[in-house]
Every structure is written in C-alpha cells, then in structure tokens.
Amino acid sequence: NAGVTQTPKFRILKIGQSMTLQCTQDMNHNYMYWYRQDPGMGLKLIYYSVGAGITDKGEVPNGYNVSRSTTEDFPLRLELAAPSQTSVYFCASRSQFGNEQFFGPGTRLTVL
C-alpha cells in the first residue's frame, strides 16, 4: 500500500495562475481532507469529503475548489493564485470505522 500520495512535491506559481494539487489514497477510505499549514503553525482545514460525490467547506475554503468523483482521488484546485496561498498543503484520509488520519507528504506551494 502506498497510503496517501500527493503531487507535485513543490511548485512555484505566478499571481493569477491556476493549478491542481493531486491527492490519491489506496486504503479505500471514505473520508478525505485538505489542510494548509503556514510556517510554524498548525493545520487549517480547507475542504473535506465524507465519500465520493460529497464535499464540504472547512475553515478556510476561499480561493479553493475540490471535487470527489472517485473514492481514491480528491484534487484541490486553485483558480487565481494569490501570495496568501503560499503554504504547505497536506491531504489526509481516514476510514469511516476509525478516527486516525493518514497524511500525505505535502505539497510546498509558493505564489510570487
């Protein structure tokens, strides 16, 4: 099992560009999450999903969009990148039968 994989590992964007952060899990988990972590801080929930076809906003959803067409994939879309979106982005998943979240290795995004 690969667990939770994220691509890319690093990305530099110019203001106004768009990109999609990919997240895939192979554990057949229903729940998936996107967080952002600013330097030296905790994690803020952007969006989450409780199953394929169902998504909901977290604490800081503005400027982001998500979709969940399959159980495995939960991509995060930035439409108009802004410097305030410079952060490390973590995807996580968990089973509906437990509360342990499994995190991916993160994507470090810089918007200049």
Binding site: Y31, Y35, G42, L45, G58, N99, E100, Q101, F103, G106
Partner: protein
C-alpha cells in the same frame, strides 16, 4: 481565531527533563488526538483520547483528556533528543466529520 489553543508555543529543554504541553478550548470535542510532525513530513498520530478524564500512556508519553472533553495535556518524562518535533493536538467535531488543529508546540530537546 484558533479553536484550540496550545501552550507553550516553543519549548527548548535538556535531555532528561520533564515537560507538559497543553491544548485548551471552550468547545467540546468527540475525541482529541495528538500528532507529532517532523520537518518536511506530514503529521503522524500518537494517540486518540475519547472519554472525559481518560489517561493513556505511550512509553514516556502520558496523554490526558479533560473531564469536560474540552482540553488535553501531553506529558513527556525524561525527554530524549528523538522527541524533538512539532506536537499538534486536534479536536474531532461533534458530527465526527472534521478536525480542528491547534497551533502546535515546537519542542527541541538538547543532548
């Protein structure tokens, strides 16, 4: 505003010392989790506490959930350099769908 407040923010101690990290909120949580995060990696779960007043031990680490399920503490006995890292608490919402993270405690244990 942060739903979960962690203190202290930074802690630098000598090997062998004891320490306690606190995680406080005015909200009630279904469960409270503690994670440890190394630089450049995602957080890794240490423990989940579910019942008010619950105490769990993991080798030299002792975790406690407050009676009212609003706060938690992590106590490390005889800290080792390998304990160095960012410690994060996370509260599970009442509908069991999402988690709120604290701002983290950065621990440095010097040999």
């Amino acid at each position: 505003t942060q739903l979960l407040e962690q203190s202290p923010q930074f802690l630098s101690i000598q090997e062998g010392e004891n320490l306690t990290v606190y995680c406080n909120s005015s909200s009630v949580f279904s469960s409270l989790q503690w994670y440890r995060q190394e630089p450049g990696e995602g957080p890794v779960l240490l423990v989940t506490v579910v019942t008010g007043g619950e105490v769990k031990k993991l080798k030299r680490l002792t975790f406690q959930f407050g009676d009212a399920r609003k706060d938690s503490s992590l106590h490390i006995t005889a800290a080792q350099p390998g304990d160095t890292g960012l410690y994060l608490c996370a509260g599970e919402s009442s509908n069991f769908n999402k988690f709120y993270f604290g701002s983290g405690t950065k621990l440095n244990v010097k040999p």
